[in-house]
Symmetry: C2
Subunit: 394 residues, 2 copies
Amino acid sequence: MAELSRRRLLGGGAAVLGVAGIGAAGVGTGLGYAATREPEPTGGRTVAFHGVHQAGIDTEPQAFAAFVALDLRPGLDRRALVGIMKVWAEDGRRLAGGSPALGDTEPELALDPARLTVTVGFGPAVFDVAGLAAQRPEWLRPLPAFSIDRLEERWSGGDLLLQVCADDPVTVSHATRTLSKSVRSLATVRWTQRGFRNAVGTKPTGTTMRNLMGQVDGTVNPAAGSTDFDRQVWNPGTPAWLAGGTSLVLRRIRMELDTWDELDRPARELAVGRDLAAGAPLTGSRERDDPDFAATDVHGIPVIPPESHVARARPRNANEQFLRRGYNYDDPDGAGLLFAAYQADVDAQFVPVQQRLAEHDALNPWITPVGSAVFAVPPGFGPGGYPGDTLFEG
Amino acid sequence: MAELSRRRLLGGGAAVLGVAGIGAAGVGTGLGYAATREPEPTGGRTVAFHGVHQAGIDTEPQAFAAFVALDLRPGLDRRALVGIMKVWAEDGRRLAGGSPALGDTEPELALDPARLTVTVGFGPAVFDVAGLAAQRPEWLRPLPAFSIDRLEERWSGGDLLLQVCADDPVTVSHATRTLSKSVRSLATVRWTQRGFRNAVGTKPTGTTMRNLMGQVDGTVNPAAGSTDFDRQVWNPGTPAWLAGGTSLVLRRIRMELDTWDELDRPARELAVGRDLAAGAPLTGSRERDDPDFAATDVHGIPVIPPESHVARARPRNANEQFLRRGYNYDDPDGAGLLFAAYQADVDAQFVPVQQRLAEHDALNPWITPVGSAVFAVPPGFGPGGYPGDTLFEG
């Protein structure tokens, strides 16, 4: 009997049930939705997977993110890359819609998309492997070395990026694992960085996040759908295949919270250039008030110190703007910010700002970049397409 | 001018603002609550901090947890221990109510309690340091070594435990850091283990969690407030100071997901003894159906294999029951379950079940205990009290 049971336990082999069957069973047997008087569960909320742009960039930021960098195994060619992309297109679509991936081994964990988005990016190696070096955007290379950097290999670089965001951490965990696993014969995970914001519902939608130093973080972002957003974020087609795509700069910024805690509140506010309670510039009273960098106090001293973070980060021209869509992290190796910046052109928009901050930023003693990676983010695609189809078939 | 600003930046010293002032400013300057048409934010939800029992045990599980073990610095005495407890009582009460801790360095991060609970536990060393060795419960020692254990020091043991749970990950991060920091001259963090369940709202309240193997996990739990719950969880007063307290066994159980994925669905269900879609026992159709361990198929073979997890875990007597309140984890070192078990008596309730599972459990090839710790959880206390007051002043 024990023998038989063991055979039953281990037998069977590849009899993975049909995906539709599993999904239907998971819903049909009822997780009890109908029986409760609760508000409609939010797990079913979805974000459109197909479109002109990939989702996950102009999407109202979800509560949780995982950034996964993968390295291509040696000896691959363009066809293998396209294979990976088609798998991610198919499984991304399924998961974003609340259906299990093909061959999903934990299909019940796929049933709550919770606004899941899957965003794919390309590191520099993609273009060599594909034999398309001439198509690589000029800015797609490691950022210049900044004096403040203390970069660690384990948080830097990568050939491919998967950005997985959702309002539920179980959804993110399942989707991340499923998408990396399905291509593991072709690519290996180089690093995974997980981040969080406030849970959905904790604060009203649209509240700017706070980082773990307690600062309101991301106030100057352009509004999704605005002309500013489109101009800052979406690549106009340089090179042509990237039209409607963008770039991601991901910086892992460790916060030196123990020494930050030694600063009193006024000193913190002068370092940032904003107050901590409302996130208002020191010359204003509300978060979205424009900072007045010319304002001085009765002694003629600038109210917003020129070396403060907001003063140093202030764009010197219209190019120096980009979208911040970061996440907090709190891991055994420390706490900080996964600073995620999206822009049409890294060199024109991101680098000058970062260069200026590296040279002088009153916040620098308390923030240390320990990871850095740059990716080209191909445009969106339709049901027949996949990430990078304009590159690989262009 | 730069000189002056630098002085303004670095000057000031210890001028931490009054707590009430900061709190009021944070709310008063308006995070925009009133201006929106959204449902009331859920960040303001609170769980009572004082009571007969500590909160965080019979509390409907929050979405996020951090378990922090601390080690006492050498040379402490009972007075120092009481000092730590009084700090945690005061700051725990404030944070659970949505107010900053005393001297909170990031007071704005304290304004959304999101059902925050802070639960304190004692490791074996507490009783020696306090000169109260005779008051140590007999079961408060490392669990017996089990054959399946692959324990790592970095996830095991500890003199004190802080269990911090809330529905928001920022709240958990802030409270965890604040509470450990405020006693760092007396105790150092030994390990931190962070876990998650579904976000609030993803599924209806009361849905049993799924672990990352996809299994419904925790079905057999007693209902909070029931006679079963009270009998299983709350210590009746052995020793007397622990009346209304309990014990926590925290096991970090790594899941071998890559090999688990090689099993087909029927084999998985036979290993667990439940189906995966609904979590129903193989002899039933709904999650809460009682398993029928005597049922056989047409060949006389038990429908629920005797070596399946549910069959091996089944209590052999009324003592062998306890509360499971675990959390998923997904960290760089692997994914799995923070198995948290609460019981009046570890030796009588938890150990025999774990012993039986270690000897034979069809799930064992796919689950590896890599961390283990046992704590006595003192009873609740009133506004004038603190965790362990019945021990230290008893």
